[in-house]
Symmetry: C2
Subunit: 598 residues, 2 copies
């Protein structure tokens, strides 16, 4: 039990020299990668650079205690940082203590929500976010982030919460373009972009070992930082309009409980919920991907608790919302991390950097950090899902497209909410009209098939209908309409047989619909029968009066029902319908019974 | 096509002397019943009495043109009137022209929404309201309405939007109790209540024909009205604090387009949506119940359009939201109405009453109308569903209970919204963890069954899993977790076979999950196979790359998969598992594979 909530108790006793060495190597590589990222994402969130470092120390240590993934690396990530900026700037002005407080409150609320949902096993709430919505949202957010960072590499002050606003502002302030900033930003952008694509191959062709080449490639942003610091210092570019990072306190964060301010908390609650759910979805996806490769297991509810604890830790150590990031986790995994201790060592690395490296970062130009962000987020842009979805499902395509368009034109929160609502809407629309078939018997067998697709026997006075979906409130009314419609069209029907092969559940709404159908059919002189009702469904029906009130019988198989009702027909024989002709709406005898809408 | 949108073109040409006589008789009976009801529900909605009459003229005529139900009677109903009062008093003070305008705007917006949803075939939106939520909501509303009308029959000014507020106010103003009002209210209440229960039987025992006795019983509220008017006039009770109806303009309403005021419209939009959806659900339920008895058909989308048109008509004729009422429609049906022309005749009856009877209503005490309302709504109280649901489904019970409690303590809109959200929440929770089974072959057959319930053969290196639900975004993640968990627990597995007998649909999210599963299993050295995938699902999969990327095969039957994979086992034989022991979590060989959570 204790091990369930503190997975560290599971792996720590087995910790040994081997795992220590593996973890340490991974930690060094991840630390090198994380320093520029932490600074950059703090900038993106509109916070002072140290907030990014703080968010990469305590949260990682706390995650190591609670997390079940052996390889995930938590910390600030691009999309959550953008959402933090959006939410915080709605309640405070960037640069003020209130703004920093808002970011802390966002992390704290996200943490409480995640931990609460995890403890209450509400992880399924993340299912509200369908894959198309997430992919559309991330692609659109990447464009907003990249456009926003044009400011960092050109000096043009372009603010805005959506692409339209940002582009408008860039256009309006084009005159503020700053050549020295661009002289740093553009080369940094090109170099970091190039290093991602080609540097490793080049280094290998120079004779370096692939592993070393890989580490050096990952350190490329650090190299860009060093060169740009040197350039600023050398040419005094900070006096030519180049924004620099400036003073960073070279101390560990003072721990503090986030300020309680009901008004601020309630105005940030929805944003915190979105940040926490999106963060969780990213974390659990990455965790599962990496765990599956090594046949390790992650516990989704415990991951929710762990991510929640990490966010609470971030809040009390003056950080901002953190997530299990994709790229850093993959680096951690590839570098050979074996346990969450690798994360703890990374935290030590970042802490040391905070204590001893920050003075060297005084002249670091924000343009270099902006370039880091742009390259990082452009790798998130992916139109593949849009193309695939267009082919696979027009309904899902409309959800993804709406998410992208609304995110770009209105903003991140509206975009993700619209995506969720559209998915739910389409889902309810689909499940509210399930597939169904009027069935008949394949001659000479005991098999029953759709009258529209197969040549089958039917009885003129018997309607056998199979609904291919559980019966619950979204489709309860549909079933009523379907059956009333059919008996109104075919006055010769005296028996309706509901075939339950695909019914896994009947909820109270559907039960009431069945009772209504039973009593309305009774009024119309028609009997209702059931067949092939599954065991658990039958158990539940026994808890109601339905089976007692049922005008007809419960048959075990469709064939039993067919045989029993055949003899009740007024001397009429079974007719054989032709399954070929299923387009023309023939006003047929019983054999031609057709679903009206499917 | 024209007949589809104007069902009157369907029945009017067949209209004849017979149907005319039937319709006329029904219209007279409904008119007698509707006059007191219209006045009473206008009072409940906080509007002058003529608004109730107006809402029973033009809307009924318009419904006769657009409606597909032969017997439904539209007009003001109790719950919609309460919701109108709640919504209107949130934007204006009762008695002011703004208040009346708000009621008109509510009708207009409801009408536009219904007509729009009907034209766009969005009738399924009504499915958001599950039966338990509706029944809980109506019971709770009935209590609020009845408590609110204690004011009418006692003179104690008790306002409030929920039961708590009303009871509080009644208590606070107990000193305003007015004996003359009570002297009218109490006898009226007792008489109307008694007439509903016993009057018909009494009259029949006096030798009247049942049909006449029935008509006289329905006229009982009219009788109460006449007696109470006489009492007020005779004793001058209106000068002793008894509220009377007063002047009612004896003219038909002047038609006018509702005032456009963006602020008012947007603040009433949510209320209008709730009123329209609840009104539609009541209307369609009543329409279907009555139509099924005579094997007639109603078109749910066209009913939405018709109800929308009726509400728009109500708005332009200075009424308020209207609904197809249950009791009046049953009266109409029982009285023999054959076509919507009966409604048109009723409208003429109400119009005549408006023109010629209103002067006689000057001394009508509101206490009598209050008594009419109390008796009408108490018949809506029904704790049956609460009891049945408790037995049938604890999840649905919690939805109904929450709806009742929130409606009583917070208000009608909060109650119905909470009910909808709780239903959706429970629904998503359930579908996000579908039932599944690890299956094996029943020895000597080609049938495959749950390893936990049956004695079946399994292959140690093959996991065959059947998921009893379509695969879509709420459960996409579940499937991933399920499979990763199983292969992590059982390192001997080399093949996973997904059995698709119960999969009716695979959406894009689930497709991506399957692709993830396929590629993660590949990384872990496990092949993924499919079997018994349904035709339409297969057709759709062919539109993606999934089948090309699939590491394993698509088998036609489970047995084919079993036989083919058997030979791929490393010389291992099939083992037979015992289905008995399904409680102890044995760390078993392949035969003991168990779902972890189901």
């Amino acid at each position: 039990m204790l091990k369930k909530y503190f997975p560290i108790l599971e792996w720590a006793p087995r910790y040994n020299r081997d795992t220590f060495v593996s973890d340490l190597i991974a930690a060094v590589i991840v630390t090198i990668m994380l320093i520029p990222q932490s600074l950059a994402y703090a900038l993106l969130a509109g916070l002072p650079p140290e907030a990014g470092l703080y968010a990469s120390i305590l949260p990682i240590i706390v995650y190591a205690i609670f997390g079940t993934s052996m390889t995930i690396a938590v910390g600030p990530v691009a999309v959550a940082s953008l959402m933090t900026a959006t939410a915080a700037s709605a309640v405070a002005v960037q640069g003020t203590p209130e703004y920093a407080a808002a970011a802390i409150v966002l992390a704290f609320l996200s943490g409480l929500m995640l931990a609460g949902m995890g403890l209450l096993r509400l992880g399924f709430l993340a299912n509200f976010l369908s894959h198309p919505v997430i992919s559309g949202f991330i692609t659109a957010s990447a464009f907003i982030i990249a456009a926003g960072q044009v400011k960092s590499i050109t000096g043009i002050p372009a603010r805005g919460h959506n692409l339209v606003e940002i582009l408008e502002n860039l256009w309006l302030h084009l005159d503020k373009f700053n050549w020295p900033t661009f002289a740093i930003g553009l080369p940094a952008l090109i170099f970091i972009f190039w290093s991602r694509k080609k540097m490793k191959a080049l280094l290998v062709s120079f004779g370096l070992k692939p592993r070393l080449a890989d580490v050096l490639t990952k350190a490329a942003p650090v190299f860009a930082i060093l060169v740009s610091i040197a350039a600023v210092k050398l040419f005094g570019m900070h006096e030519m309009g180049v924004s620099i990072v400036g003073d960073i306190p070279n101390a560990l964060p003072k721990l503090a409980v986030p300020p309680f301010d009901l008004e601020m908390w309630s105005s940030l609650a929805v944003s915190a919920l979105l940040i926490s759910i999106l963060g969780y979805v990213e974390t659990i996806s990455v965790a599962q991907t990496l765990a599956a490769r090594r046949r390790e297991r992650v516990d989704p509810d415990q991951e929710m608790i762990a991510l929640g604890a990490a966010n609470i830790a971030s809040a009390i150590s003056r950080g901002f919302p953190v997530t299990g990031g994709f790229s850093r986790s993959v680096v951690n995994f590839d570098a050979g991390a074996r346990t969450p201790a690798a994360g703890a060592f990374t935290a030590v690395g970042i802490a040391l950097a905070t204590l001893y490296l920050t003075p060297f970062l005084y002249f670091l130009p924000k343009a270099t950090l902006g370039a880091t962000i742009i390259v990082a987020v452009l790798s998130l842009v992916d139109f593949g899902p849009l193309k695939l979805t267009w082919k696979y499902s027009k309904a899902d395509f409309s959800a993804i497209l709406a998410t992208i368009v609304i995110t770009l034109t209105v903003g991140v929160e509206a975009g993700v909410l619209a995506g969720v609502l559209i998915s739910l809407f389409l889902y309810l629309k689909r499940t509210s009209t399930p597939h169904y078939a009027v069935v008949g018997r394949v001659p000479g067998t005991e098999h029953f098939r759709n009258v529209l697709r197969h040549k089958v026997e039917t009885l003129p006075h018997v309607l056998m209908v199979r609904v291919d979906e559980s019966l619950y409130f979204p489709n309860a009314r549909f079933l009523e309409e379907l059956i009333y419609d059919m008996i109104a069209r075919h006055p010769e029907i005296r028996h309706v047989v509901l075939v339950g092969t695909a019914i896994n559940h009947i909820d109270t709404s559907a039960l009431e619909s069945l009772e209504q159908i039973n009593s309305r059919l009774k009024d119309a002189g028609v009997m209702l029968h059931l067949t092939e009702i599954k065991g658990p469904v039958m158990d539940r029906l026994h808890r109601s009066h339905f089976l007692e009130d049922l005008t007809g019988k419960v048959f075990f198989t469709q064939n039993e029902a067919f045989e029993a009702l055949k003899s009740e027909g007024a001397g009429e024989d079974a007719t054989t319908s032709s399954g070929q002709d299923d387009t023309a709406p023939k006003s047929a005898p019983a054999g031609g019974l057709k679903p009206s809408a499917a």
